[in-house]
Subunit: 383 residues, 2 copies
């Protein structure tokens, strides 16, 4: 290891492959709110590779600035949910009965595998620019903090407020685990409280009161009988969902309850805005007391944009709809079409046996590297 | 005030009427667990009147021991629910728009009015015995602590465990507020948890889980559609009740809940024992997961016993069923038929404007005094 590489930190060495980089990124523990050490290491590495770097809190933005006609943004979050007890670090490489050759440990899937892919790409781009073989598109790498916690702390949201210019681009890829398949757009989400009201009384003389929990039967009946819609948007079929996520009522073991609150989460296709989604929920619960508590619009897939279509063709896979709300919606709000595309099966995220297939690390990297570093048009692309 | 009366405390003076005694008992604050000062004052007073006295914790038992063929037990609790803030002491006497001449303040209704009636009777009995005009029945007065809190702390329950002999009698009257009408027996009460189980999943992909709250629709449907029974027992019609008193489910705002628990309170007529009542509830929720959490049998009115029939006739009122579970059930368990009969409208108990009609204080005292101190048979009685 050279002195220069040493001063550039543990992620900067030129011979680290994506598997070893995933290990190292994972082994720099970074539970939400505690991403500073990892952000420092990433900042040092991308600076050493000659990229234009900006730091905001524990978010790092690294860019090529080549005045290319098109800019692509690659983004990933640095934080993980807390480690299981006992800690499952360091990351292990092992043979999994179903998944074969995998890295196992907190963050391997969600989403330090994706961060490692970003880092290799940043290094390769830095080397290409230094060698005068600059890419055909400018690229922005965004590494951000606090994705796994409440929205107000989200580092990508903070960047969008403080430096919206740094997130601009023609197309964005969020390297969230998607099993190396393009997942387009995302469903919106909103929550309402459906409230029933009664009159308290001693339960020994129930006829003097009115039982609000019994009235909630009507709320649960409608939820149970509701058939979620499937909505086609830009060729992708988004499955919706309308679900009670909480129910709460009751004063004491001998009192007729005067209030019951059912909290309902509606996941709605990105073709509807929040107002339309709220209207739909109010229609389902017509005649009942409904309060909107929070809402976030979904994101349209935007797969008809040239850069997006080109990229999808490059992956050689059929895009799927993304059901969960993700930070692609923040790009969508900035007018940047965005998709999820990254290594790892989301089903193992946050799990005790969180893992990522090594093959997916290599494949994601290869697809992105070929797309970003090749000069010619994509195979099958029609730009 | 004589020196002897002073040493016997604030409740012992021979010229205190039932209204003034109610005031004084109320003004000795005694929220559950803090009854010692009031118990001390009562113990000193009943000792000064020459009764046989036993103290157990903050319960006081005072008796005549005249070897009469029949013994009557009069019982009342000393504690109140906490005072409102600011404290509504001292008690006020005022003209109420509906109720006329009333005492207003914490404890006036539940049940220091009844305790004051007990005290005047104890004093009169002591005087009668001293004067060689002993009553035709022996009388036991029970003043006990912690009725307003969890059953395990109940002073009458503790006496029943430590000194069951002291509670024996042919008939017991609990001076709980009953608007000066005999309320016979009491309903039993049990609680069950009706549990629905599902499978947790992210609410963005609800189809991978199973919503336990939606399944609880079936539980609430059955409760809503249930028609409570009315059961005639010894000529009294007991209204039953089957009510959700709590519902709880939900993990997080984005998770399909895997468990929902509806707590149901069943108030059942005293003709059924706990096993029969539990079987009835299990029938209502057939096919669902049901757990019994607590149960207490009711109490049969026992109005056909001679002492009971005699007393009821003496009151000149038609007895009513008691719906709420009360400590009469503890006497019932000891084989002592018991009724509720005391001053105060139970509807104002625990309320900020808790109050007791002065006329009811005088009437309850007159009825009991005439019954216990007269030598001849009761009017209309058939002993």
């Amino acid at each position: 290891m050279t002195a220069a590489a040493l001063s550039a930190g543990p992620l900067a060495e030129a011979d680290l492959d994506v598997v070893e980089l995933t290990r190292r990124v994972c082994d720099l523990e970074s539970v939400s709110g505690d991403e500073a050490a990892l952000a420092d290491a990433i900042e040092a590495a991308v600076r050493s590779w000659g990229l234009d770097v900006m730091r905001d809190g524990d978010a790092v933005v690294a860019r090529t600035v080549l005045d290319r006609p098109e800019r692509v943004v690659l983004a990933g979050h640095l934080d993980t949910v807390p480690l299981a007890d006992p800690p499952n670090l360091p990351v292990r490489r092992e043979e999994h009965p179903q998944d074969g050759d995998v890295l196992v440990g907190r963050g391997t899937c969600d989403m330090k595998g994706g961060v490692a892919v970003q880092l290799v790409l940043a290094r390769e781009l830095g080397q290409a620019v230094a060698a005068g073989r600059g890419p055909s598109r400018d690229v922005t790498f965004v590494f951000y903090d606090n994705e796994e916690v409440e929205a107000a702390r989200n580092g990508l949201g903070r960047l969008a407020r403080n430096h919206p210019d740094l997130l601009r681009g023609d197309f964005a890829i969020l390297l969230e685990p998607s099993s190396a398949v393009v997942e387009g757009g995302c469903n919106g989400t909103l929550r309402v409280e459906v409230v029933t009201s009664g009159r308290a009384a001693h339960s020994a003389r129930a006829w003097r009161g009115h039982n609000a929990i019994h009235d909630a039967a009507e709320v649960l009946d409608r939820l149970r009988d509701h058939v979620p819609r499937e909505v086609e948007v830009e060729g992708l079929v988004f499955r919706e969902g309308l679900n009670a996520v909480k129910v709460e009522g009751g004063i004491a073991g001998n009192v007729i309850p005067d209030r019951c609150v059912v909290t309902v989460n509606y996941r709605f296709a990105p073709s509807a805005d929040v107002a339309a989604a709220e209207a739909y929920v109010r229609e389902v619960f017509a005649g009942l007391e409904v309060h909107l508590t929070d809402a976030a619009a979904g994101a349209l897939p935007g797969l008809d944009r040239p850069a997006a279509a080109d990229f999808v063709a490059r992956t050689g896979t059929e895009p799927l709809p993304k059901y969960g709300w993700t930070d692609v919606a923040r790009f969508s709000e900035l007018g940047v079409p965005a998709v999820n595309y990254g290594p790892g099966d989301n089903a193992t995220a946050h799990a005790d046996d969180e893992r990522c297939r090594v093959e997916e690390l290599h494949r994601c990297l290869a697809v992105l590297s070929e797309w970003l570093l090749a000069d010619g048009p994509a195979r099958g692309g029609d730009r």
